[in-house]
Amino acid sequence: MTAAQITAIQPVQDAQDQTGVAPFGPKPRHVSPGRIGIYVFLVIAALFFLIPVYIMIVTSLKGMPEIRLGHLFSLPAEPTFQPWADAWLHACTGRDCNGLSPGFYNSLKITVPSVIISIICASINGYALTFWPYKGANLLFGLLVFGAFVPYQVVIYPLIIGLSSVGLFATLPGIIIVHTIFGMPILTLLFRNFYAALPVELFKAARVDGAGFWRIFFSIMLPMSVPITVVAIILQVTGIWNDFLFGIVFAGRSNWPMTVQLNNIVNTTTGVREYNVNMAATILTAAVPLIIYFVSGRWFVRGIAAGAVKG
């Protein structure tokens, strides 16, 4: 359907909604200075958001001699994917020249278990808090919400000491535990709010039928929690993939996630800065959350808002 057809249909529907009578003739066009101003503002704002990424994409496709010419905004004269291959396989951090790919697999190894474990914990928390509140449960929840606002720096050192005392500091399980801990406040809030909006009768009926804590959770609550789980997955995957601080502190050198390796590749290079390789590496690191963002669309916004509301 072309744009003209859509505009032809739209006013008819609008008018019918209000009066029940369709108007005749084409939609009156109002191109006032005000509307032009709106679009000018929005387009300039869009350019502000787009130009940095445009520069990155164009530069990553150029060779170094072309970059030195200084035509920042021009399209690549001889597009090459060599910088992308180099970024993935050969970019150096110090003496290791394995590119970004180990970081990618590390990020994967960190993100997948962290997301699964943190969501399982949070859904059980939310369910127990809503339907089985025991004495002191709300105090625990209050502490957890408090934890959502605490600066990480206050908790990091005790966590380092605690994890090293059980031999988990600078290991893969260690970083997964850390992500589970810091994901718990916001996810529990998310699931609790979701379960609290369900009708209590559902729960009562199951209780009358003799179902217990786990039976109700697995047979009734879990199948109903698909939408909130999707929001939680989006929130956690992007959050954990983008994390830098916990990765550099808790993962240990051999498990450093992609963001840490990217920063090392770019900010610790000695000698000639290979801008094209660096920018390709940056785009590769941003690719996973960006794909999730564009695929999930409005769910993403809902996740942010849901996480922030009632905080």
Partner: protein, 298 residues
């Protein structure tokens, strides 16, 4: 019937929430307790229990690097939050004018938020790099005296961080405020128009006060982000030039890892916690009083 299942102490519920108990008590109470405790000791690389009173705090507030960090976080926070709010609100208002391609614009404004702050920092580091970015491009176009390199000057580097912060965060503010705007009843606009009130006046005096919740949400989100700002600084400036863009979050991590001075690091972390505690206690009090007043009315 209802009472009996609510009152009883359900073992499965407690077992199911063991992780929550461990995190809430173990991390957010005991962990923070230890941080505060160690801030009163002379701990270096490992924690000790040799108490020195407030000595670490005295040394902290005599450290120029910490003083610069505190100044920076206030400046960065005030600038980036106010700019984000104003810019985000303007974007939301313009987006609400039944424009075409709304989804496209929304995606463009919001996508930086999906990326890591490391990525944002690096992107802007390049755009503002004097040998590669805007300055080089403008000189290349023939404007040879064009000079724009905020990152290499200690006085302006913090502005560059603010710009990157706006680039990353104003889209979210827009999304939250736009949802708030859409929640305002259409009738209010009609009534205001009938009364002959100019649109900008309706926005400022009627609609904006009705969006208190959305503003509060956006504001809280920004504040949490500002207190935690670490990745952006590391990727963009590394705290430099010199110590010009150091922030409390960066300072604490440096003391724990590089400078191996845990006692003073924990003192700094406790100072970071203090304003958060004050704000939370205050908002808790407000909520509690409002609840009580509502109960009294019922």
């Amino acid at each position: 019937m209802q009472r009996s299942w609510r009152r009883r102490f359900h073992l499965p519920a407690v077992i199911g929430t063991i992780p929550m108990i461990l995190v809430a008590v173990g991390v957010f109470v005991i962990g923070i307790g230890f941080s505060v405790l160690w801030s009163f000791t002379s701990s270096k690389l490992f924690p000790t229990y040799d108490f020195v009173g407030l000595a670490q705090y005295r040394r902290l507030w005599a450290d120029s690097r910490w003083l610069v960090s505190v100044n920076n976080i206030w400046f960065f926070g005030l600038m980036s939050i106010s700019c984000n709010m104003v810019f985000g609100y303007l974007l939301a208002v313009f987006m609400d004018q039944r424009i075409r391609q709304e989804d496209l614009f929304r995606s463009i404004f919001l996508y930086p938020f999906a990326m890591s702050l490391i990525v944002t920092g690096l992107v802007w580091q390049w755009v503002l790099d004097p040998n590669l970015g805007l300055q080089a491009a403008m000189r290349n176009l023939g404007w040879s005296s064009f000079s724009f390199a905020p990152l290499v000057d200690a006085n302006t580097a913090i502005y560059a961080l603010v710009v990157a912060g706006i680039w990353q965060g104003s889209g979210v503010t827009m999304a939250i405020l736009l949802a708030g705007l859409r929640g305002v009843d259409e009738e209010i606009w009609k009534a205001a128009r009938v009364d002959g009130i100019p649109t900008w006046r309706t926005h400022l005096s009627i609609v904006a006060p009705m969006m208190k919740g959305a503003f509060a949400t956006a504001f809280v989100l920004q504040c949490v982000g500002v207190v935690r700002v670490y990745d952006l600084v590391i990727a963009m400036t590394g705290g430099g030039p010199g110590i010009a863009t150091s922030m409390p979050a960066v300072y604490v991590i440096q003391l724990i890892t590089v400078r191996q001075n845990v006692g003073q690091g924990m003192a700094a972390a406790t100072m970071m916690l203090l304003p958060v505690l004050v704000v939370l206690a205050f908002s808790g009090l407000v909520l509690w009083r409002r609840n009580r007043r509502q109960e009294a009315r019922v």
